[in-house]
């Protein structure tokens, strides 16, 4: 475990609203650290639809989702935010002095005076494949990622999916496993053509087996798989030996551990007031798609408005008693100094 990382504001989620929060908080001299489960900033904009145009960002008749993320990163650069990627925030506790201790799924510890939840639709997590009765095997013989290749040594491995993860792990794990069967519902793949060609070449040499179809059933006991049933191929239903399974069915969004932080929830959303965008716990704010209040619209535009007001309230938490002066970036020399521009 590394040492505790301290910051003024910890932002959970680096989507467009989390990014713009850095700007509004930065104008009030608050230093921000962002944590995101993805390996890059931008949230849904970057992960789900980077190339799609957005038409309702004021001043931009049309901008691609990734384009917006890039512009936001440029806009917040003067405030030098820190980023931690590939991490999910697993726990949050309030300390005696009113600050917060946040721990990630890799046990990094953060301490912050204010926490801003900008987690959008929740964290991106691997989608559970449509295989009945898979739950008892998860984490025991069914895995959604490979942490250690050794865990697969000597096993009969079944990999399900047709993207890069499925193909890459088929090729990388083939030398360590006893057998590997790749299952995909059609002979076309989304993965890089080079990996697909390699896979077919290895199939020719009988180093692995590729089957067209869908996994419809699992056999095993006490969480340990023994075989999988594959349906849809030319041979009808077949059963293949399977003691480890890696399904790659993309990502879905789940609220995740935020549900256990003791905040009031409203249908998996976090209710806030519309003055401060504060949650039921003072010092924890929620902005963007994850919050709820009467009239809430899940628009990036609304999230931008929310962070501007939230920043005022956060400043009062961090610097109680200090007078907050309302200023315009157009005319304030002190704001322009912070932005690194001269008036």
């Amino acid at each position: 475990m590394t040492g505790t990382i301290s910051t003024d504001v910890l932002i959970v989620g680096a989507g467009p609203v989390g990014l713009f929060a850095v700007f509004e908080l930065g104008l009030f001299d608050m230093k921000c650290h962002l944590i995101d489960i993805l390996d890059k900033p931008g949230g849904q904009c970057a992960e789900l639809y980077p190339e799609k145009p957005i038409y309702d960002i004021p001043g931009w008749p049309s901008i691609s989702a990734q384009g917006l993320v890039d512009k936001l990163l440029e806009q917040i650069a003067p405030f030098k935010p820190d980023f931690t990627y590939n991490r999910m925030v697993s726990s949050l506790e309030k300390l005696e002095d009113g600050s917060f201790r946040v721990i990630t799924d890799e046990n990094e510890v953060f301490e912050a005076k204010v926490v801003v939840i900008a987690a959008g639709g929740g964290s991106f997590q691997p989608k559970r494949p449509p295989i009945p009765g898979i739950e008892p095997y998860e984490g025991k013989s069914v895995f959604y990622s490979v942490r250690r290749m050794e865990d697969f040594r000597g096993h009969d491995l079944v990999i399900v999916g047709g993207g890069d993860s499925a193909l890459d792990w088929t090729l990388n794990l083939q030398p360590v496993v006893k057998s590997v069967t790749l299952v995909h519902r059609r002979p076309e793949f989304r993965a890089a053509p080079d990996s697909v060609n390699k896979m077919y070449a290895m199939q020719e040499m009988k180093q692995l087996e590729f089957r067209v179809g869908q996994v419809t059933g699992l056999t095993g006991a006490d969480g340990q798989l023994s075989s999988a049933t594959i349906k849809g191929g030319p041979d009808g239903d077949i059963e293949v030996p399977c003691t480890r399974m890696l399904p790659f069915f993309g990502l879905t969004m789940k609220l995740g551990p935020i549900a256990e932080w003791g905040l009031n929830l409203h249908e998996n959303l976090i209710p806030v007031d519309t003055e401060k965008f504060q949650t039921s716990v003072p010092g924890i704010f929620a902005v963007g798609d994850i919050n709820w209040y009467p009239g809430k619209l899940k628009l990036i535009l609304s999230g931008f408005h929310e962070v501007a007001l939230m920043a005022q309230a956060a400043k009062r938490v961090i610097s109680p008693g200090e007078r907050i002066v309302f200023q315009y970036t157009t005319s304030s020399t002190s704001l322009q100094k912070k932005l690194g521009v001269s008036g």
Partner: protein, 106 residues
Amino acid sequence: MTKLTFIAHDGTHFDMDAENGSTVMENAIRNAVPGIEAECGGACACATCHVYVDEAWTAEVGEPEAMEEDMLDFAYDVQPNSRLSCQIKVRDALDGLVVRVPERQG
């Protein structure tokens, strides 16, 4: 106006008038058809607006494009008549279209 019918997984029929040029998914959301989630809002990025096109309509509706076919990999119980409803545009020739909602989305 073009007539559309969604058959929910419990068998309930949802009949509606749809505007040409709108997507089949948008009409499901507007009419609160249960089982159509459309998590990504119609960007062909999530496979949660999956429907089965009634056999009588598969030829007229047509085949999914490559990007949609890729996304269908993530859907639940994909059949030859599976489509993502955000990728079907309503037009005159689809008047009377019937689609069924799968047991679950993903």
